[in-house]
């Protein structure tokens, strides 16, 4: 097999004849001696890839450290606009999703197909919840001043609400928005001249992290599809779901560090 040819994919070849589950039909690549060796190599390869991911974020962490060292008060000030309650909730959501991911791998290892699929979709949903919280409760109010009506952060600002939309579902707080990165910063009540820099770091770090969440969710969805269509994962072959899991845990890992660094400064 020296040509990229999807038809030679042993899983794809036999979609209708689903009698034999995909994982049993799997044949390792022609250059491997055993399936185990291939699995081992894939895991090693994936760890190397994870190392590159960590070092990608390393740049952000170094930037964070230098800037916080230079402008400690800008960071304290900026951080005080983040609501630790949402941050904590998001941490819990990601930890739960990490658990469901690990459990789903375990299910596939034990050939519990249904359990595995349920856990996979749970992971996906947790990811979705994470993004929803991030975008609707964190980014949107800070950038535009629009809150969702049931945001617990809102009652405090009730006296400043100056607009509504969608029948009161969204409420606008006067002067709250404009906490954008760099030159787009237009929040008028900042205490520190370098606060835009804090927001730059905040949006870069959480934004790139959110991008990774999205990539991870895509991978999970793809695994789910293959699990449903081909029963692709089972005791002897679960490489892809395992590596997706590793990726997802890495996303969690990064967040474990981002959370205190961004939300718990004072």
């Amino acid at each position: 097999m020296t040509t990229l040819d999807t038809r030679s994919n042993p899983l794809g070849a036999d979609v209708q004849g689903g009698a034999t589950p995909g994982w049993k039909r799997y044949i390792p690549g022609h250059h491997w001696r055993t399936a185990d060796e291939e699995f081992d190599a894939c895991t090693l390869g994936f760890w190397l890839f994870l190392a590159t991911e960590v070092l990608l974020f390393a740049g952000l962490f170094v930037g964070y450290t230098i800037m916080r060292f230079k402008f400690p008060d800008a960071f304290t000030n900026g951080s005080s606009y983040l609501d630790w309650r949402w941050g904590t909730l998001n941490t819990v959501v990601l930890l739960l999703s990490s658990y469901t991911m690990a459990a789903s791998i375990r299910a596939f290892q034990l050939d519990r197909q249904k359990q595995g699929k349920i856990l996979l979709s749970a992971t996906f949903i947790f990811g979705l919840v994470f993004l929803l919280i991030k975008f609707t409760f964190e980014y949107t109010p800070k950038l535009s001043g629009w809150f969702i009506a049931f945001d617990p952060a809102l009652p405090h600002y009730a006296s400043l609400i100056d607009g509504q939309a969608l029948g009161g579902l969204f409420k606008h707080v006067e002067g709250y928005g404009g906490k954008a990165p760099g030159q787009f910063f237009s929040y008028a009540f900042s205490e520190d001249p370098w606060e835009p820099l804090w927001w730059s770091i905040y949006y870069c770090a959480t934004g790139i992290h959110a991008l990774h969440v999205i990539i991870g969710m895509t991978l999970i969805a793809w695994c789910f599809r293959r699990a449903v269509l081909y029963k692709a994962y089972g005791p002897s072959h679960y490489t892809m779901v395992e590596n997706t899991g590793l990726y997802w845990h890495l996303v969690d890992l990064i967040w474990i560090f981002l959370f205190p660094l961004l939300y718990l400064i004072h």
Partner: protein
């Protein structure tokens, strides 16, 4: 590759002198469900601890009027995060059970990170910088040209956005309303302890020489060697532009 799957040719494992096959025995470890649950619980517990510690620090500062050193917050938070990360790595990411080479890879990656951070800090952390003493006015020039807003044709303000927007708001709503708004907005969470203090004036003006290193002489850029002192230039302290606009000075609480 349409040939049927064949049993693994065991003969190769015998010829494999580096134990490459032996490593695969680690690969298929199945973690018990109990372990996973316990790890999750521990992780959630640590999350509670780290949030609690941060709240506790705030409480200490607010009620005992004692300002903890800055590193306390960082050290506590980072230690807990490291423990959590280790747990995730070992049990969720199966480093504990898989081929040790994977752990080595990850440790090397952390080593590279550590070197990166250490040497960058070593350089940037030991030299003076001109933090604009006048947080007020941004250094203009090729790197200035900050625009007031998102649009590409928005006017150039040559000012820190913070200052520009503050002044604009004051002009729009008046200083009383501004202070009123600010009072509410800068206490985003009830019970928030101390009021943040601006660092705009805390920067030390050092002459670009590592403080205390080799300073047979620490030449001050604006010392009175010459009759007029050094001419005003660059981002240096410029008395004429020290925060002059009275209403623009942030109201201290």
């Amino acid at each position: 590759m349409s040939t049927p799957h064949a049993a693994s040719p065991e003969v190769f494992n015998e010829l494999d002198p580096h134990g490459m096959g032996a490593a695969t025995k680690h690969s298929h470890h199945i973690v018990s469900g109990m372990t996973l649950i316990s790890i999750l619980m521990i992780l959630l517990g640590f999350t509670a601890v780290t949030v609690g510690a941060a709240q506790m620090e705030k409480w200490i500062e607010a009620s005992l009027h004692y300002e903890l050193p800055r590193w306390v917050n960082v050290i506590v938070a980072m230690s807990i995060a490291t423990v959590k990360a280790t747990l995730v790595l070992m049990f969720f990411m199966l480093l504990r059970f898989s081929n040790p080479i994977n752990t080595v890879v990850f440790l090397f990656c952390l080593l590279a990170f550590a070197l990166f951070l250490f040497f960058t800090m070593l350089d940037l952390g030991t030299r003076g910088m001109i933090n604009p003493i006048k947080a007020h006015q941004v250094e203009a020039g090729g790197i200035g040209g900050i625009r007031a807003g998102w649009r590409a044709d928005a006017p150039i303000i040559n000012q820190a956005p913070v200052v520009f927007w503050r002044d604009r708001k004051i002009a729009a709503v008046g200083i009383e309303r501004y202070n009123e708004l600010k009072n509410i907005l800068s206490h985003p969470h009830e019970g928030h302890g101390t009021t943040p203090v601006s660092s705009g004036n805390m920067s030390i003006n050092r002459p670009g020489i590592t403080a205390g290193l080799f300073n047979a002489v620490a030449p001050a850029p604006h010392d009175d060697h010459a009759p007029h002192g050094a001419a005003p230039h660059g981002a240096a302290a410029d008395p004429a532009h020290a925060p002059a606009a009275a209403p623009a000075t942030p109201a201290k609480h």
